[in-house]
Symmetry: C2
Subunit: 346 residues, 2 copies
Amino acid sequence: MTRPERPTIRDVARVAGVSKGAVSFVLNGRPGVAEGTRQRILDAAHSLGWTPSHQGRALSVSRAFAVGLVLARPPELLGADPFFPAFIAGVERTLSERGQALVLQVVPDAAAEEDGYRQLAGAGRVDGVFLLDLRVGDPRIALLEELRMPAVTIARPDVPSDFPALLVDDRPGITAAVRHLVELGHRRIAHVAGPSRFLHGSVRRRAWEQALTDAGLPAGPVVEADFTAAGGAQATRALLAGGRAGRPTAIVYANDLMAIAGLSVALEHGIAVPAQLSVTGFDNTELAGYVSPPLTSVRTDPYGWGRSAAEALLALIAGETVGDIAVPPAQLVVRASTAAPPPPTV
Amino acid sequence: MTRPERPTIRDVARVAGVSKGAVSFVLNGRPGVAEGTRQRILDAAHSLGWTPSHQGRALSVSRAFAVGLVLARPPELLGADPFFPAFIAGVERTLSERGQALVLQVVPDAAAEEDGYRQLAGAGRVDGVFLLDLRVGDPRIALLEELRMPAVTIARPDVPSDFPALLVDDRPGITAAVRHLVELGHRRIAHVAGPSRFLHGSVRRRAWEQALTDAGLPAGPVVEADFTAAGGAQATRALLAGGRAGRPTAIVYANDLMAIAGLSVALEHGIAVPAQLSVTGFDNTELAGYVSPPLTSVRTDPYGWGRSAAEALLALIAGETVGDIAVPPAQLVVRASTAAPPPPTV
DNA sequence: GTTCGCGTTCAAACCGGTTTAGTAACCGCC
DNA sequence: GGCGGTTACTAAACCGGTTTGAACGCGAAC
């Protein structure tokens, strides 16, 4: 029975006939080690199959080599919204290239979320965090500043923040959607919004209002929903409840999930899309192109955002000065769920 | 300017007037500390706002207090498939209760995946891992055994494995779907499968075959796809290409995403669902109930699986003997996408 | 009054790395 | 031959916890 113990830096030093310090120097590519010795150490390390212990290193340099992400969303929505996995995949792509890990926490509500950040910081488990799903007047900004925890926010907060922000801007996408509908001839354009306590929820709503105003149109009806299919369906029912007269001819949804649910509610009411009702989504989910009719949507790039956010966070942790990060604007993808409105009833 | 340094166990010991050892004992709830001293130590810790350093603890007990998950899926599919986020949420729920973290890695392909596990193990970054998306003859089982890394597999592998397995079984769900269709009168039941290199892909396919055989029906046409909407659409087109005569009257899809894409392909071909074609999905995604027609699907419980898998893994890491874990069988949720087949053409 | 046993506490070693201060050897040079 | 400077390397301290072995104080037993 051989000992399955992992070799340590001591073993490598012994085999190579040098001190621990020398091994450490070689490992970190520091100068001051003769080439011959360097090779001997590398050979020893290789023959022992040595990989430096993460814990040992983390302790001595007091870094965690990990960044954190705390998500406060009910698990069922987490599953339905394709944003998170794509964002996480992007983050991971950058992190794994640099030997960093992502420490994830999923909590049920906002209170637990602050606790989550507090724990991660208190235990020194992460070197920095991402701030997602910004809320209006988000208290987490102050919390993280108090904890002196480096952070990158996804979108610029509406409260003063010294943290670099990934400048995602939902407004051009919504504006483009409304403009597209206006150009098709729509004049009664409704909105199914996300929760107004979230920044993205309220930003998209205000962009919709502004775009209508800019087009010289009165603000149409708006229903606040919760980004879920169930919520989208219910909101759509509320909008389509009135008689044909006052009913909107187009609905701008704050995400694809609600829009897709809206499509089937329309069908259920005997309202043809896009002949009698135009519909736009947001996110450009994979499924958007494969429902009927294929959904006009706003394409965003959560994967790319994840990559950029991670790069910025690592730079910030490394002590560099990091400013806000620009990202390409979202673009409207026109498919078959939008068309000219029906002729006005006489 | 006050020092923002985090207090250490030494500071707590000094304030409480005891040794580091005493503080450690109190922290870990060990006996052998007088009640008065215990209180003094707790007070000191509290007044300093001390939280033990994760790195320090991890090093001295040589545990990582973290478990790993390596995902080898292209990012775009990760976003579309609601399985992962739900599973991860379940895992997290259990982990965060016990102060453990989840270290996630998303890699592009299978080779990088093995590398990922090797790195996590080599650096001692995790105490155990989950094995997801089992492949036929999965080489990772042997790898993890070689690395002596505790693991829990999601589903029982088709190769010998000493690791506890979460006994998810897709067969009853598929069987129920086929039986449901047979009872409705269908006799030509096709299948859109997942990649056959995955265990869940081939298990579902075989279950479909077996169910047809059991019903005394010949195996219908099968098309192997890749679990994406695009793949599902393409597969559906292939199945519906033939004339009305040989065309299947029902399609059993290996997941909801492909089934939903299939719905719109049918519509595009002028084939009414469920009047002329019945469709079943798998996963019972939130969206399944909100497409038209609402999709008959098989409900699974990835959130619950995550919880159970995490509990088993932690127990295994703690040195307990852990056997396979039973989970409630998947259940068919009948909605409006299935109905009796059209009367045979004369 | 010593001895024993017990509960309480401390000092020191240890986990596996990094980092700093210091030393030995070697070089060229005056 | 002694000096200053460079290079290559070592020994030891340190990061922040846990754990062990010994010491101490005290009451009961002999």
